[in-house]
């Protein structure tokens, strides 16, 4: 069953610039999908349309767990946890206040939120930071609190825009482990990244986007078969996006 389904999705900025061009895409359950592409290829625009931040051009539809985000936005938004590429939000809230805020919006019962906050804080080494304002956090800590807030309601779909940027090695490892556990439980993760090694080691499937079109969708092994033996992922990526 597909957890995210995009049908005929396009996005045009200022009436002329087509950032995303007629995308059809299904993301299966139990997979970690890496979304890669050069700067300005349409990754963030696509993720923003999936999460309801941007409205696609007419005709297309986006479903999360079978719920159309255009028709039933609030219920669709409950299905996923989203981490944006900028963690500089809610800076004057304390870490614990932010987590409580997110838990309230997603209706997380008190007992569960306590357990999850304790678990996440331990895995990300944030126990000593939750009483402080997010303003006092480093970039990596801000990223971690945003990840914690997004996952607090245990969503079946994780959508993460450059989630590993700024994380220290231990936290990056913890997040990657959590992504694997999540997929192993039959749920799905979709994340964008520029780091090809991360995609290589972590993803079950990848999607390469270039100039608003998905130019490849599938497993890395299948991708490699299409190119010369011994070619690195970097070389393959550069060759696929050379006219970017």
């Amino acid at each position: 069953m597909s957890m995210i389904r995009l049908a005929h999705i396009s996005k045009t900025y200022a009436g002329t610039h087509k950032a995303v061009d007629n995308l059809d895409w299904e993301i299966e359950e139990g997979t970690i999908t890496g979304f890669i592409g050069p700067n300005g290829a349409g990754k963030t625009t696509t993720l923003k349309m999936i999460t309801g931040i941007l409205e696609p051009d007419e005709d297309g539809s986006i479903e999360i767990n079978g719920i159309d985000i255009g028709k039933n936005p609030v219920e669709a938004k409950r299905q996923f946890g989203f981490v944006s590429d900028s963690p500089d939000n809610f800076l004057r809230l304390k870490g614990i206040e932010y987590l409580n805020f997110m838990a309230d919006l997603y209706d997380v019962p008190t007992k569960e939120r306590k357990e999850r906050i304790a678990s996440f804080a331990s895995r990300f080494e944030m126990e000593n930071a939750l009483k402080d304002r997010i303003l006092s956090y480093s970039h990596g800590m801000r990223q971690k609190i945003m990840v914690m807030g997004a996952l607090l309601h245990n969503p079946s779909v994780w959508i993460l825009d450059e989630p590993l940027t700024g994380l220290d090695p231990k936290s990056a490892f913890a997040l990657k482990e959590m992504m694997k556990e999540h997929a192993a439980a039959g749920k799905s993760v979709l994340f964008s990244t520029h780091v090809l090694e991360v995609a290589e080691k972590l993803c079950d499937r990848i999607a390469v986007i270039n100039k608003g079109k998905i130019v490849y969708r599938g497993t890395l092994d299948d991708l490699r078969k299409q190119f010369r033996e011994g070619e690195s992922l970097e070389e393959i990526f550069l060759s696929m996006t050379k006219d970017a």
Binding site: I53, E75, R92, I96, K114, D132
Partner: protein, 577 residues
């Protein structure tokens, strides 16, 4: 100098060019441009009565003072008021631009001298302050000039005055800010310190402004002698606070344009001294702004019980709004405290001047007691009770309109989100519910802000023997007007939020919505008040019946605005990208 020019240009381009920008994209771009132009037009129309009042003040002021040969006093008073307004309004603005702006962290690592950064930022603030001062003073100067049949020298001096008048008060405000930030550099809670410090500085500035006048200390005989001496003998006596003013006024009053170079010279000296001192002080304070303090303590089990608790989505959203509002100094000052401070600043001089008429404070209190006693005995008179009812009803309306219009919480509720606006889009809460939460967070300070003044009015009303129904109606009117105004202000911001800004000050002070909402509410509120007065005096409708009908009509208007607001929330917020 080249670096200063480049930096100024960049800062102006980033900060000043987006007073009306919204989060919308090309969709409906043309219609938005048209509606933007229409809004500017609407604002100009709303400003016309105020501009006309200032024009009239200039004309009639000249006609009153010219026979005494003291017409220069009007110009000095106007320039002094403009200067004080710059000083008071400029303080939070300068604090924000110099210390809290997002560009500070970008500028500090660049090979720039403190004086270049201060100079560029000072110029940016000067452009904004000059526009504000010109708006206030230009109609008055035109009124004065036309009444006086002034020649070219008056207009040249006026132009120079409009351009350079803000420089000295801005230099004062910047110096006070820098000294304050330098002293408070080690403080743990900088947000709280900045807020409290700004309020303190505002009060001190007002007091300095009020008591710096030499006229206050002059005996009556001396004053009469000066007044009758003519030839603008009073010029220069109003204030020593801005030493360049007297030269400007002399140049304007026809004592020769020769005074204009002196005005330039004094302004330049103050500016140079300011830049020299600022060069020494600025980095010391601004570098500490990037230091953030944290406790780095674990949450204990008992704290967890208290902190981690389930609430409804609506109450948690309101709480979040209030936290962000009260913890951001610029928002707290401009959106909340200003509606508590401003009326107090008007009241304090009135009370001080009342008490100044008596030899001792106890004598003043005794007089006040006598006055209240007289009010109390007047209450027995049925005619007086009717007048008291009218005063309470009209007073409640007027106070709520005036104080409530300064409440910018709702007027900037969406704009304050800035780039964090996208969270509104992906959180699982409908746009109308988020807007309802924002409305609630604005109503709270609105009610608190008006309640204090309302209570004073009602207390006087009780002494005066105001009927119970009038007091209840007064409270009801205040609630209804407050609700409607907040809905209107929020609706404006939902329709055209200013989401692109470089510092928090721009989100609230350089925001078209807040000014437009305030002006429209004043004009509309004034018209409703005039209609009420006309019906009361023309048709002698009983005050209770008339106020009841008006309250019901205003409540119906509230329902209409509220519905429009929610519909706009659904439609407009989805459009912003």
């Amino acid at each position: 100098m080249r670096k200063y020019r480049k930096l100024t240009w960049i800062l102006l381009k980033c900060g000043m060019g987006n007073a009306m920008s919204t989060g919308s994209t090309g969709k409906k771009k043309k219609s938005r441009k048209l509606s933007g132009a229409a809004l500017w037009l609407l604002m100009l129309v709303c400003l016309l009565p105020l501009a006309y009042m200032m024009f009239q003040a200039g004309q009639s002021g000249y006609e009153m003072l010219a026979p005494l040969g003291q017409e220069g006093l009007l110009l000095e008073m106007a320039c002094f008021t403009g200067g004080m307004a710059t000083l008071i309004l400029g303080l939070p603005y300068i604090l924000s631009v110099f210390y809290m702006s997002g560009d500070v962290q970008t500028l500090l690592p660049l090979p720039l001298k403190p004086v270049q950064i201060v100079g560029a930022k000072f110029t940016v603030v000067w452009v904004y302050e000059t526009a504000t001062t010109a708006f206030l003073l230009l109609p008055l100067l035109i009124g004065y000039g036309t009444a006086a049949g002034a020649g070219i020298s008056f207009w040249i001096a006026s132009l120079a005055g409009l351009l350079l008048l803000p420089v000295v008060p801005m230099a004062y405000a910047a110096l006070i800010s820098m000294i304050f930030m330098r002293i408070g550099k080690g403080a743990k809670n900088k947000s709280l310190l900045t807020t409290l410090g700004t309020v303190f500085i505002l009060i001190i500035s007002m007091c300095v402004g009020m008591f710096s006048s030499q006229l206050e200390n002059m005996d009556q005989e001396g004053l009469v002698n000066l007044l009758t001496a003519g030839k603008n003998s009073l010029v220069g006596f109003l204030s020593k606070l801005f030493p360049n003013l007297r030269f400007l006024v002399k140049a304007m009053t026809g004592e020769g344009l020769a005074h204009l170079p002196l005005f330039f010279a004094v302004t330049a000296v103050i500016l140079v001294v300011f830049l020299f001192v600022a060069g020494k002080l600025y980095f010391g304070g601004v570098l500490s702004m990037s230091e953030t303090t944290s406790k780095r303590q674990k949450i204990t089990a008992s704290e967890s019980e208290k902190l981690v608790r389930r609430r409804s989505a609506m109450s948690t959203y309101v709480k979040k709004e209030l936290h962000l509002l009260f913890r951001t100094p610029i928002y707290l000052l401009n959106c909340v405290l200003i509606l508590l401070i401003w009326p107090a600043l008007f009241l304090v001089p009135v009370v001080i001047s009342m008490f100044a008429q008596f030899d001792s404070v106890s004598e003043g209190f005794a007089a006040m007691k006598g006055m209240l006693g007289a009010l109390s005995s007047a209450g027995a008179d049925p005619q007086a009770a009717a007048v008291a009812a009218l005063v309470v009803v009209a007073g409640s309306y007027g106070i709520t309109l005036f104080v409530g219009s300064m409440n910018l919480v709702c007027a900037t509720a969406i704009s304050r989100e800035g780039s964090g606006f996208i969270a509104m889009k992906y959180l699982p809460m409908s746009y109308r519910d988020q807007v309802k939460a924002k409305l609630l967070s604005g109503l709270l300070p609105g009610f608190v802000g008006t309640t204090g003044y309302l209570l004073i009015l009602l207390a006087i009303g009780v002494y005066w023997g105001v009927p119970l129904w009038a007091a209840a109606l007064g409270i009801l009117i205040s609630l209804v007007v407050n609700f409607g105004m907040n809905c209107f202000q929020l609706w404006r911001d939902v329709c055209r939020p200013k989401l692109v800004w470089a510092n928090e000050q721009q989100a609230v002070k350089q925001n078209f919505n807040s000014m437009l909402s305030m002006l429209v509410l004043w004009v509309l509120g004034g018209l409703i008040g005039v209609l009420f007065g006309w019906l009361y005096w023309k048709f002698e409708v009983p005050i209770g019946a008339l106020a009841g009908i008006f309250t019901a009509a205003l409540a119906a208007l509230d329902v209409l605005i509220y519905r429009i607001l929610l519909r706009s929330a659904d439609r407009r917020i989805a459009e912003y990208e």
